[in-house]
Amino acid sequence: MTRSAGWVWLARTETRPEGAVATAPLTTGGQPAGWLAAWPAGRKPVPGAVRADARVVDPDGAAASISFVLLPRDRAPLFDDPAVSGALRRVLAGPPPDAVSTFVRDSSHFAGAVTVRRDGQDLADDPFARLAHAERLEVGPGLFGRVPPVPGPVIQRYAGAPWPAAGFPAA
């Protein structure tokens, strides 16, 4: 039993990017903080793009608060690092966000994560904030949707896809 692992490219840019399937402006403290955009799986659209679970992206999604963690390549831990596993367990155990996805650049490293909330709950307890600086941002409408809570208990990735995207690629 296999099915495609769904992922998208996600990147933060200074100006509104072209060709994205979903884009939204970012603000912090009421000040502009760039753009966040998603592109379909395939050729990497911009140099800093990372892969994220496709289910979090919804061009019809409402504005949201996000906790955004993005590690530089030279500081990215292994995805199987116990600290990363611990963060995934905390996501599964805690109150579910509207959406959550880890980021990956390759098959073995953790590149970051985004946690999306609209319920007013504090993003300061983002489990991924223990791994690297987590930036609290407001994101405009048109990028992030609302996804059912991650079923658990699986914390492994499927063929290198960003957690929690499930299902192995068809043989």
């Binding site: 039993m1 099915r3 599964l92 155990a93 079923p151 208990p153 699986v154 492994q156 499930a166 299902g167």
Partner: protein, 174 residues
Amino acid sequence: MTATEARGADLAPGTAFPDLELPDHNGVPRRLCELAEGDPLVLTFFRGWWCPKEQAFFRGLVALQDEMEVAYTRLVSVSIDEPVALSAFRAGLGARWTFLSDAARRYVDDLGLRETTDTLYRPYVPTVFVLRPDLTVHSAYNGYWFWGRPTLEDLRQDLRAVTRSVRPDWEVPR
């Protein structure tokens, strides 16, 4: 087949398990096929958070989740408790899988899993199914008496058999 027969006569190994739709412990509507996400699934029906037998059994499942979390295997538990009670029970256990609430007893009779000896709460009779990713029943355990439930070793053996049959690269690629 090492498992004992489930009480539900139509839920024998080889049959298709119904794709239940129930609210989870957060109150979010979920479907079994969505929760399986293409993986083998252990599905447990239990009386309720208050039952000492369930508490003992779930402590074992919590121990097993440390293996299931790295084995591409899913676990779902169903009872007649309200979502808020399930959420508290789940948190107290340290469970990281999905609990489903059938407080309305929507499926208890359809599945033939009503515990008829409890006429007050009308709970599910404790029953465990090991399902293939397409929700076909691989094995079923009647846990009315505690020793009818699967041991963790029973579940490991079942999950090995299911995983071997559904993963085309079970044999090491050469």
